[in-house]
């Protein structure tokens, strides 16, 4: 899979077509908004019974990314679980799978708005992770530099020859990166939404995920 390389606050980073972010110098892989256990939470709250395969699907894509990049550190940028009860309700098979993915590397769960408390799984639970020159947190804060965040699930559309293609995307400017959601059952927020246009500088780029991630000026 091809990647898109760029520099943030002096750190050389790579956008991966899968929606993950890789920092080769630190052998760090970062993914955001896995929303594991989403279908369980919806059913529990009286909603419909969605196909209960999204945790399996998300984990197998994460597994493939780990195999491809063999990182020493994995950072999950928050909203890793759809809520605390969903984390508790994960079937043993998926818990074992996560332990296997964690084996032999440092694993950090950043807290998100969906999963504010610690979960009963291996790894470190942090509110945010500073790692010079970058800082990893769930929701972007104004006036930051070298900030890596998620939360908004940005997506962007391109129209070419009458066909409109919409993909989850990274948003990148000189201050920050906002990651797309990695989880299978996640929607997106169009990047011309005012929350995102307010956060990002005028010269921001959007990088659409897919086999050939490439930047475009962030659509506004």
């Amino acid at each position: 899979m091809n990647g898109y390389d760029f520099t943030l606050a002096g750190a050389d980073l790579q956008v991966r077509g899968s929606g993950a972010l890789y920092w080769p110098a630190r052998r760090l892989l970062c993914v955001s908004d896995l929303h594991l256990g989403k279908s369980e939470r919806m059913a529990r709250r009286g909603g419909t019974a969605l196909p209960p395969y999204e945790t399996q699907d998300t984990l197998s894509r994460l597994d493939a990314e780990l195999a491809a990049t063999t990182p020493e550190i994995v950072v999950c940028l928050g909203d890793s679980f759809d809520d605390a009860a969903a984390a508790d309700a994960l079937p043993d098979r998926d818990r074992l799978w996560i332990s296997r993915l964690q084996a032999g590397r440092r694993w950090v769960w950043i807290e998100g708005n969906h999963d504010p408390g610690p979960v009963d799984l291996g790894g470190t639970h942090l509110n945010e992770l500073p790692m010079h020159p970058l800082v990893f947190r769930h929701i972007a804060q104004p006036a930051q530099s070298g900030e890596i965040s998620g939360h908004y699930h940005p997506k962007a559309s391109l129209t070419a020859k009458g066909r409109t293609i919409t993909r989850p995307c990274f948003l990148i400017d000189g201050d920050r990166v906002i990651l797309p959601a990695f989880g299978t059952y996640t929607g997106g927020l169009r990047c011309h939404d005012v929350v995102l246009t307010d956060l990002m500088r005028d010269e921001a780029l959007a990088v659409l995920t897919g086999p050939f991630p490439a930047p475009i000026p962030m659509p506004r």
Partner: protein, 773 residues
């Protein structure tokens, strides 16, 4: 009607305007006249809210004049909550409603109280309901009503149809019979092709050439309805009509994508006799009495004779005067099609493809509705359902699979033991969480609205209508498009509303509307094929006649029992043109399958285009032996692989999953801000395909796509018809019959990695434009 009032079910067939609705009510008025009946006596169901209100007004007058002690009320989505509550506590004698409002009523725990003593149900425009899932939902609701009120008698009112027995079977409470009462059809209509000074173009659907002749007709008649097959065509025609309307004749436009207020304005002006013409689509096919219409013009080939007859019936609502209609073919081939439709109408040869068994997504919704009203046993519900015509052959296994889906999700991975939607307690199924009834009720119905965005004049101006999200995404500020006959300029998107400003004088884009594109019916296609066998065509205009003779001279005309395939070079490419006469959707599918097969055989196809009668494929190499291409078994194998990732399947899945209750259109306390929380149904489809390919909903989706947009049934029908008799002609250039296909819009390029290539080219271009590359 009064003589047959005791029949358990009765279908009354009468042409449009025959006064059949009031006839349907006569037995009710007679039975209610003595004032002894308590509670609901007659339920009237119409496909249109407006029709329910209209009929109520029409009924109230004679009831008041005769001083009858009868209370009549309507109940639709527009009725206030207070009124609705009062109606449940104290139902009127006659209640007029729609299938969706009835389904909602049936879902309440007090349904037995509301419907106790119900004597009659009248289903109006049943021919229209019978073609859609709304009809299936209605009939399932009636099966429930029949259990609550065993004396219930059913009456269906229908326009002229080809298979009255099919509709009777839908209406009947199986296995009881349904009698059919045919009214005098009245005099034959006066229909002909509209004479025009100019000949129609070779392709396209605009019919701009006929504008002067149409205006001339409008001038000569009191009120003209000008029907179009699609909303886009109606918009273009209306625009052109106004450009030529020098005298400023009052002409309006009416179609389903226009804002309701705009439509109501046009309807009111029409009833008041202020309009000389209305450009319209199927939105005026049903129901209301449009007063003084004395001419119907159909622009574009009618595609389906039954619909043509029903549209013609709109003209002249006096029972014994012939209605008058003129057909305007939009292009040269449609001249032949219109001619064939005229003859079919004269011969009373109506068409209509039989519908398959009752759709299971609607059944799933019915089970949910039943659960909302209280606990039930599977046996009892199953025996109720198989009294419904469309579901009478439903097997217990199929029913159990639907029940399992509703209760547990029906997944191979049994993940929801704790959170089932329905649970079995003491042999009775019930909602695990009674509060979920409210969510289920919010999602009752089978009408699908695609992703539509409202269009509004900038600065809190009036709402104009709606366009599809996909079309909106293709607009950039400054682009102009047509809506409601106005050219507007796209300004921007604001909170899911498209803001526009007025901008006359520029050449507009045409909005994409979600209106259905109809395929020419099997019967009509066959009639065209038979017509092509004549030695000469004195009934056709000269331009078309010469065209057909020329085709016969240089090539051959297609024949009913054979498949004609022409192979010729043109403009540096090789082409084959297959005249399958299978209708637009099937020819489109054929194009996809042929090119896929050519790809596999190393024949380098580059693209194709389809019409109702033929598919044209182009590529690099000449194809002389076409027989292996049309091997049905191989085409079917290709279908399975191709279908899986197809957009048609995803669209069909979305509708099926919404109706079956997997996807909720409406949720409580829905907020605009939650957009990143909702995700597209495509993700669910992909997940199911990957992890649970035999799931019930995928099964239903496949079944529907095969009949609907993919229409493989008609490819099979074609294959049976030709029995391998394929005539491949090698010619040195384009033939007269193939030439119009080169002008068709909607060419489909063949290239697997098209998306990635487009993305790469476009990203490079954008970066360069921004000076970033």
């Amino acid at each position: 009607m009064l003589d047959r009032a005791r029949e358990p079910a009765l279908l009354l067939i009468a042409p449009t305007g025959g006064g059949k609705t009031l006839a349907g009510f006569l037995p009710s008025l007679a039975e209610l006249a003595d004032g002894t009946h308590k509670g609901l006596h007659t339920l009237y169901i119409s496909p249109l809210k407006a029709l329910a209100a209209d009929i109520r007004r029409n009924l109230e007058t004679p009831v008041a004049e005769m001083n009858l002690p009868i209370r009549i009320e309507d109940r639709t989505g527009d009725t206030s909550q207070t009124r609705k509550k009062a109606q449940r506590a104290d139902p009127p004698h006659i209640l007029l409603t729609t299938p969706e409002s009835l389904a909602l009523l049936v879902s309440y725990p007090d349904a037995p109280h509301i419907f106790k003593g119900l004597q009659r149900v009248i289903v109006d425009e049943i021919h229209a309901l019978a073609e859609s899932k709304r009809g299936d939902q209605l009939m399932l609701a009636l099966s429930r009503l029949q259990s609550l009120a065993p004396d219930l008698r059913r009456v269906g009112l229908s326009a002229t149809v080809d298979r009255p027995h099919d509709i009777a079977a839908l209406l009947a409470c199986h296995p009881k019979p349904c009698a059919i009462l045919q009214a005098d059809p009245g005099p034959d209509p006066d229909i002909a092709m509209l004479r025009t000074a100019e000949s129609p173009p070779w392709s396209g659907g605009g019919a701009a050439y006929a504008i002067p002749a149409v205006l001339d007709q409008v001038r000569k008649h009191r009120t003209t309805l000008i029907f179009h097959n699609t909303r886009a065509q109606a918009e273009i025609f209306f625009h052109n009509l106004w450009l030529a309307n020098d005298e400023g004749l009052p002409i309006g436009i009416h179609h389903g994508s226009l804002d309701r207020a705009q439509r109501e304005k046009v309807e009111a002006a029409m009833v008041a006799g202020q309009l000389r013409a209305i450009v319209c689509t199927g939105s005026l096919d049903l129901g209301l009495d449009w007063g003084d219409v004395d001419l119907v013009i159909q622009v574009g080939a009618p595609k389906n004779v039954k619909r043509l007859i029903q549209r013609i019936g709109r003209a002249n609502h006096r029972y014994n005067a012939p209605s008058k209609a003129r057909l305007v073919p939009a292009n040269r081939f449609e001249v032949i099609e219109c001619r064939a439709a005229l003859e079919a109408a004269r011969d009373h040869d109506l068409d209509g493809d039989p519908r398959g068994p009752g759709p299971r997504d609607v059944l799933c919704q019915h089970i949910l509705i039943r659960a909302c009203s209280g606990p039930f046993t599977a046996d009892q519900l199953f025996s109720e359902i198989i009294t419904t015509g469309a579901y009478r052959d439903l097997s217990r296994r199929e029913f159990d699979a639907c029940l399992d889906f509703v209760a547990t999700g029906g997944y191979a991975l049994r993940a929801y033991d704790r959170w089932q939607r329905l649970v079995l307690r003491n042999g009775q199924w019930q909602l695990r969480d009674p509060r979920s009834a409210a969510r289920i009720r919010m999602n009752i119905g089978t009408i699908q609205d695609s992703d539509l965005l409202k269009v509004r004049m900038r600065g809190r101006g009036p709402a104009l209508g709606e366009v599809e999200e996909g079309f909106a995404a293709s607009l950039t500020p400054g682009d102009t498009f047509l809506i409601g006959g106005k050219i507007v300029r796209y300004e921007g998107l604001r909170e899911m509303t498209i803001e526009v400003s007025r901008d006359p004088g520029r050449k507009p884009k045409v909005a994409v509307f979600s209106g259905t594109k109809f395929s020419t019916s099997t019967q009509l296609s066959q009639r065209i094929l038979r017509m092509l066998q004549q030695d000469d065509w004195p009934e056709l205009p000269d331009h078309t006649r010469t065209w057909l003779h020329l085709q016969r001279q240089v090539s051959r005309l297609p024949e009913p029992g054979r498949l004609l395939v022409e192979s010729f070079p043109h403009d540096g490419r090789e082409h084959i043109c297959a005249y399958g006469f299978a209708g637009r959707n099937a020819q489109q599918t054929l194009g996809l399958l042929l090119t896929k097969r050519m790809e596999e055989m190393g024949l380098a196809p580059m693209g194709f285009v389809s019409t109702d009668y033929a598919t044209l494929v182009w590529g690099l190499d000449p194809i002389l032996d076409t027989a292996p291409l049309f091997d049905l078994g191989a085409l079917r194998d290709g279908l399975d692989g191709w279908l899986a990732g197809n957009a048609v399947m995803k669209r069909t899945f979305r509708a099926v999953a919404t109706i079956a209750g997997l996807i909720e259109r409406n949720t409580i306390g829905q907020k605009k801000t939650g957009r990143q929380a909702t995700f597209s149904s495509d993700i669910l489809y992909d997940t199911l395909m990957k992890y649970d390919p035999h799931h019930l909903l995928l099964d239903v989706t496949r079944e529907e796509a095969m009949r609907g947009l993919v229409d493989f049934a008609r490819i099979e029908e074609m294959a049976t018809r030709i029995q391998g008799r394929i005539d491949t002609l090698r010619l040195c250039r384009v033939t007269p019959l193939a030439a119009p296909l080169f002008l068709e819009v909607g060419k489909v390029p063949v290239s697997g990695a098209a998306d990635e290539r487009l993305l790469r080219d476009e990203t490079t271009r954008l970066m360069q434009a921004a000076g970033l590359a």
